[in-house]
Assembly symmetry: C2
Homo-oligomer: 417 residues x 2
C-alpha cells in the first residue's frame, strides 16, 4: 500500500523557518461538542436539529454486539429521525465504501450523516457526507497530490459519535481514506468536514479492551508529541498545552487500563484524545508528522495496530531527533518527568526523559520494539524508500525536525529492532 | 452603580456539587481567528467577505492618535468596504452608546460591524450588531435578572480587532454593558455574539503603556485563576491549560513590560489573553467568579482600573479560600512556582505560593494593597452588601469555593488594606 500525505499543502515549515519566531496563524473549529457519560441518549434530540433521515455509518461489529448501535437507533427513532444503515466500513475505510454510503444517502434522501464508531467509521461518514452532492469521482477530493484534486466545499450535516479514545476525528475536519485499487491511503482536510456536533460519551469506551485502550493512549500522546517536537519555535503556550495533554493521559491512562470500568478515567482519557487533535494543541506550530509517516508505512507492510506501531517508532525517533535539538527534549524530560537539568541542553536528561517515556509505554502494555510486532530487519531500506517516495522536501528528506534522509529512517528503525 | 451578574443562569455549580466528578459539558466557539503581527492590514480583505458597508466602532482616542484607525480604514476602503464611524464608546460602554451605534448602522444600511479597541469597543460593537434588528429596547437583551430579558438570536456579522491584551472579548460571545440610567452594569452571552473573525495583531499592543500592560496581564491571569480555584472538581486537563496560561503570562509578561517594543513578548501575552477567556481553559469547570464580583463593586465605587483592582483582591481572596481547600492551592504553588509539598494539603506551601504570586504582581507594577488604590476601610461593609445584593446563593452568600458571607468579604478586603 502506498501512502501519500500532502503535508506540503498543509503548510509545514521548511527547516530554515523553524528557528524563526512565528506566532502567525489562523484557526477555526466550529464543531459543537457535547461531552459526558450518557450523552449517547441525546443522539436523537441532537440529530433531529439537522435532519429527519439519517445515514448511520458504522463498522458494524462491536457497536452492534455491545448494544450501542441499538441505543443510538432507539434515540433517533424516538426523536422522529428515520435511520438508514451503512454498516461494514473497514478499519482503513475505502473509497468504495464512501461511494457506497454516499449512494445510499442519495437514493434514500438522507439529510444528515452520523459516524458511530472509531476513526474509520467517523472518517468514512465525513467523506460520504461530502460525496453525496460532489460532482464526479469522490476520490478527487482526497489530497494525494493528484493534479485534478478538488476539495469538497459542502457536505450534509455530520454528527460524530466516537466509541474509542484515540483518533480525535470527532472534532476536526480531517479524514483518512484508502483507494484500494491504487493502494493509496491519503487524507482530506476541509472546512465542510467539521462535524456539526460531536457527541462524546465516555461510557461507550468502557468496553474497549486493554490493548486497544493502551494503543489509543499512545496514539493521542503521539498526536501532541509530533507538534511538540516537529513544530515551529516560539509557541510556548502550545508547549504547555501539549504537556498538559501528555501529563493527563499519563495520569489517567493507566487507571483506565487497570480498570476498564473506571468511568472517570475513561472520561479523562477521552477528553485528552479529543483535545490532542482538535487543533488547540497544534495551533501555530505548522508541524510535520514524521513519526506518523514512518508508522503508516510500517502498518502498510504489516498488519499492526496504528497505536502499537507509533509506540515502537516514537521513542526511537525521539532518541534520533534529540541529538539535533537536545534542549527541546530536555524540556520534555523536565516538564513531563520532573527531571533536573544541568543546563538547558542537557543531553543526559533528555535521554533519560525518553527512556522514561518508553518505560511508560511499556508499562501500559504497548510494544516498544519492532520484534514485539514480529517485524525484522529484512525490509528496513524498503520502508525508508516508501516513506520518502510519499513525502519529501526539496532535498529528498522526510520533513521533520530534523529532516530525515532514508539512511536516518533506517537507523531509527534499526535502533528499534 | 449596581452590578448584576446572572451567574446562576450560566450554570455555576452549587457547593454540594463541587466534589462530584463532573466532566459533562457542551462547548462551541465558531470564531475564526486570524493571529499575527501585521494582520491589521488584512482587515479589508476579511471584512469584505461579510459586507460592503461597515460600522467601525471605537473609543476614538488612542486608535486615532496612533494611526491604527487610519490604517484600518485604508485597508477597508482598499477592499471596497465603505466605513461608517461610531466613535466615542466609553470605557464602560453604555446602553445609550449601543443604541446610538445600532441606529447609525440601521440608518446607513451597514451590513457588518467592526469593534476596534479594547474590551469596551468590542463589547459595544457586539451588542450594536445584535441591536440593529432587535425588536424593542436593546437593554432587554442584557442579562441582569429582569423578567423581560430576551437574548438576541441574530446579529450582523461581527469582526473584532483588539488593541489590548486583556479582555478575551475578541474570541468569545460575551459583552458587558452598563445602563447609565439605572447604574446597572451587566452582561450578555449569546451564540450570535461570537465574532465571525477576530483579527489579533500584536503590533497594535506595542504602544500600550507599562501600567496598562501589567493590568492586562493581571486581568488575563485572573480569568483563569477564577475557574482554577472556583470550578468543579475532576477537570485535570483544564487545570493544566490554566497553569499553561499562567506560566506563559508570567514568563512573557515581564518581558513585554520591560520592553514594550518586544513584539514576541507582546504576541505571547496577547495569545495568552485570547486563550484565557475563549473557553478552552474554562470548559467543563462551571466556575463562579468571586474575585471579579468583588472587584466590580470596588471599581463601581472607585475610579480604578479593572486589572488593578483584581491584583489587590485576588491574592487576598486566595489566602482566604486556601484555608478551606489547601490542596488546590498547594497544587498551584507546586506547579506554578515549583514549590515542594510535604503532603498534598500542605498549607505552608499553599501560602508560600500565594505570597509568590502576589510578589509577581508587585514586580510587574500592579498594586497589591487597597491603600495603593487610595481605598480605605470606610466602606468595607457597604461593598460586601452590594456584592451579595447583586449575586447570592440560597443562603445569601457570594458563590465560589467556598461561598462567602458578607463577613468573609469584609475580612478579605480588610486583609488587603
Amino acid at each position: 500500500m502506498i501512502l501519500v500525505m500532502p503535508m506540503n499543502r498543509l503548510g509545514y515549515l521548511k527547516p530554515e523557518n523553524f528557528q524563526e519566531h512565528n506566532m502567525k496563524f489562523e484557526f477555526e473549529n466550529p464543531t459543537h461538542l457535547v461531552f459526558g457519560a450518557g450523552t449517547l441518549s441525546r443522539t436523537g434530540e441532537i440529530v433531529s436539529r439537522y435532519g429527519k433521515k439519517a445515514l448511520l455509518v458504522t463498522g458494524g461489529g462491536s457497536v452492534k454486539r455491545n448494544g450501542t448501535y441499538e441505543r443510538a437507533v432507539s434515540s433517533l427513532n424516538a426523536s422522529g429521525v428515520t435511520v438508514v444503515e451503512c454498516s461494514g466500513v473497514e478499519p482503513n475505510p475505502r473509497i468504495s465504501s464512501v461511494i457506497r454510503g454516499a449512494k445510499i444517502a442519495r437514493n434514500e434522501g438522507c439529510d444528515v450523516v452520523i459516524g458511530l464508531g472509531g476513526g474509520s467509521a467517523m472518517d468514512a461518514a465525513k467523506v460520504m457526507a461530502a460525496a453525496v452532492n460532489y460532482e464526479g469521482d469522490p476520490w478527487e477530493m482526497i489530497a494525494h497530490g493528484q493534479d485534478n484534486r478538488r476539495l469538497p466545499t459542502s457536505a450534509l450535516p455530520i454528527i460524530t459519535i466516537p466509541t474509542l479514545a484515540a483518533t480525535g476525528s470527532e472534532m476536526n475536519g480531517g479524514a483518512v481514506i484508502t483507494n484500494e485499487k491504487t493502494t493509496v491511503k491519503s487524507f482530506v482536510i476541509a472546512k465542510c468536514l467539521y462535524p456539526r456536533v460531536a457527541i462524546v460519551d465516555p461510557e461507550l469506551t468502557l468496553s474497549v479492551p486493554q490493548d486497544q485502550t493502551a494503543f489509543g493512549i499512545c496514539d493521542l500522546i503521539t498526536h501532541v508529541t509530533e507538534s511538540y517536537f516537529n513544530g515551529a519555535d516560539g509557541t510556548p503556550l502550545q508547549d504547555r498545552f501539549a504537556e498538559g495533554v501528555i501529563l493527563t493521559a499519563m495520569e489517567w491512562g493507566p487507571k483506565a487500563i487497570a480498570d476498564g470500568e473506571n468511568l472517570e478515567a475513561r472520561a479523562q482519557v477521552q477528553w485528552a484524545s479529543v483535545v490532542a487533535l482538535n487543533g488547540w494543541v497544534q495551533i501555530g506550530t505548522a508541524a510535520a508528522y514524521p513519526v506518523h509517516m514512518i508508522e503508516h508505512v510500517l502498518s502498510a507492510h504489516h498488519d499492526i495496530a496504528h497505536g502499537a506501531g507509533l509506540s515502537v517508532v516514537n521513542p526511537a525517533w525521539m532518541r534520533f531527533a534529540s541529538q539535533a535539538r537536545p534542549a527541546r527534549f530536555a524540556q520534555f524530560a523536565q516538564r513531563i518527568f520532573g527531571l533536573s537539568l544541568q543546563h538547558p541542553e542537557d543531553k543526559e536528561a533528555a535521554m533519560e526523559g525518553i527512556d522514561k517515556f518508553e518505560a511508560f509505554l511499556d508499562s501500559i502494555g504497548c510494544p516498544t520494539r519492532l520484534s514485539q510486532l514480529e517485524i525484522g530487519d529484512a525490509l528496513l531500506n524498503r520502508y525508508a524508500q516508501d516513506i520518502v517516495k510519499i513525502i519529501h522536501d526539496e532535498e529528498g528528506r522526510l520533513p521533520g525536525r530534523p529532516p530525515m534522509h532514508e539512511a536516518d529512517i533506517v537507523k531509527v528503525l534499526r535502533s528499534a529492532l
